[in-house]
Subunit: 349 residues, 2 copies
């Protein structure tokens, strides 16, 4: 476990990842480093190289200052430099921002192992989680374990394009060391993207995973056309089960975290928009399986909500706790065991 | 202040009020008293007498077992007896359920003063609040002050007709004496209407009032067409200000209360449905004043949200606290001082 943190007089920033969310973040960071003397004014962005109509994506970004593939229509500040080599991008960086698809994180960390700056610290914007024999492993833990860095996490009600359009929104940073939380807040906050910080890395991150299960529950209620009361009740029960699960299995998760953007707000966003809700509603209305709907509506891509429900259930059934998490268990049974959606109410009473 | 509570071996129940919500509640109570030996099997319902096509409403209810005016289409159990005289309805009752429009409560309590059963206790389902020189007075406090009874309160994400249709929903009872909370839970709970109880009378009740202000904020965001992130952020900030306000001015309001149906769930319901949200949205879209919209869309009836925002602001400005409640203050200024809705974001940052 990492025990120390050191802020240097001129932090150098690297953004690891250049997808939709990564590019939105790089735009914010590019502007912020120019505002504050305590950051080096150049930001390196590691870009997984690909060819767009025969041109390299890094070249396009460095010449046109736009990520034409993942965030077309938005200029990237010129002090953000796209770098195709992971080690070149990160070698000098003291502040690392991880924002890659979670299936690549392990590999990337292994490439970086022993090669990061001695004063490097990190923040994870990676969504999702790892599953291990002992349960659910947060992605920040993967980074910390492999790189032995102090790792913050950022999660909230954040739809990348709404933030690119500079619509008012909020997010949450979970930190272990307060100075690190404040550093990343300074680096990532703008007047339209407000950041709350809380001394709770795992709580913040796991809210981001478990909310997807609640969204499946909300979609089921929408499909049943039960009305506003019922939906609000299901969301509330979901928040309580999420809070209880996280606090039971991860000591140190704070009550306060659930009032942050990563808690309450992200749950609400996911239960009124988003694809977990939408596919669950379609399941109830059409009677098709989630797998079938993923094929038809998401090109076979897997939804996070059902996967997370399965992982939760593995933990809960193993520990004999299904009765204490009735909503999570009912959702699992509806998705994987063919329980008729309408039975959700018998299960949770 | 009331110091004691006594449950009797056979509680006699009176429902004071017979509007839409009162009738829904009378149906539930009528069934429940027959299920449990510790209640007398007859329930008296005080009905403000009126003529419906020349027939007395009490007669219709007692003959047809239906409140044709306020809850048409739903049978009332035959053991619920409509009584036109307030004192006749309540004289023997040890459990009083107040469910009347708040503007009548004071008068009703004055009529009952000194005439209730010596072991009577009460629960308030009255929505709204009184305003006094010292701020906001919960309706349960009005009952307690005048009748010197122990008073619980019930509030939650409860749309009367959805509960009449037996759709799954939840509510919250706030109690001072646990036995009283449990008594009213037994009397009012069904398999589709689940009740949480919490040792916090004022917290439960004031959530029900303050949520209307948050709903106005949500409607403003809907009118501005800002997207899901922004709306979730505003709801979250609203919940935090509601929690802070209640806990600052009413000692003993519990954190837990805000996770109950009366907190989180009722806020969500009101921010996605309901007329405070709707009228606020119309204000932004049409540019018409709230007063004008109340005339056009509500026959001049006053919305709770703007009234509550005004009362809150009276307290906050008097105490120099506007800066700590930026969202409540911004909503007040938009409703009453012509602040352009889009300025809400400058106000809360």
């Amino acid at each position: 476990m990492v025990k120390e943190i050191e802020i240097v007089s001129e932090e150098r920033v690297a953004v690891i990842g250049s997808g939709n969310w990564g590019t939105v973040v790089a735009r914010i960071v590019g502007r912020n480093v120019k505002r504050y003397a305590d950051f080096h004014p150049e930001v390196k962005m590691w870009v997984f190289e690909e060819l767009i109509k025969g041109r390299k994506l890094t070249e396009i970004i460095n010449q046109q200052h736009e990520n034409v593939k993942y965030l077309p229509g938005f200029k990237i500040p010129e002090n953000v430099v796209a770098v195709p080599d992971l080690l070149d991008a990160t070698r000098d960086a003291t502040s690392l921002i991880f924002v890659v698809p979670h299936q690549f994180l392990h590999d990337i960390c292994n490439q970086l192992k022993g090669r990061t700056h001695p004063k490097a610290k990190a923040i994870s914007l990676v969504k999702g989680f790892n599953t291990t024999d002992s349960g659910i492993q947060p992605m920040s833990q993967v980074i910390e374990d492999i790189l032995q860095l102090p790792v913050c996490t950022l999660s909230g009600a954040n739809i990348a394009n709404e933030i690119a359009e500079e619509r008012f929104s909020e997010t949450t940073i979970g930190y272990k060391f307060r100075e690190e939380g404040e550093l990343f807040k300074k680096l990532l906050e703008t007047h339209y993207f407000r950041i709350g910080i809380v001394n709770d890395v795992v709580g913040v991150e796991l809210c981001g995973a478990l909310k997807n299960v609640i969204a499946v529950g909300a979609g089921i209620i929408d499909g049943l056309k039960m009305g506003d009361n019922t939906k609000a009740a299901i969301i509330r029960i979901g928040v309580l089960e999420m809070k209880s699960f996280i606090q039971r299995f991860y000591k140190g998760a704070k009550d306060e975290t659930f009032f942050q953007s990563c808690g309450l707000a992200d749950v609400i966003t996911s239960c009124y928009g988003g694809r977990n809700r939408r596919i669950a509603e379609a399941h109830v209305v059409t009677g098709k399986s989630f797998e079938q709907l993923e094929k038809e509506l998401l090109n076979g891509q897997k939804l996070q909500g059902p996967l997370t429900a399965k992982e939760l259930n593995r933990v809960l059934s193993h520990k004999g706790l299904e009765d204490e998490y009735k909503l999570f268990t009912a959702i699992y049974r509806i998705v994987y065991e063919g329980l008729p959606p309408r039975k959700i109410f018998d299960q949770i009473v």
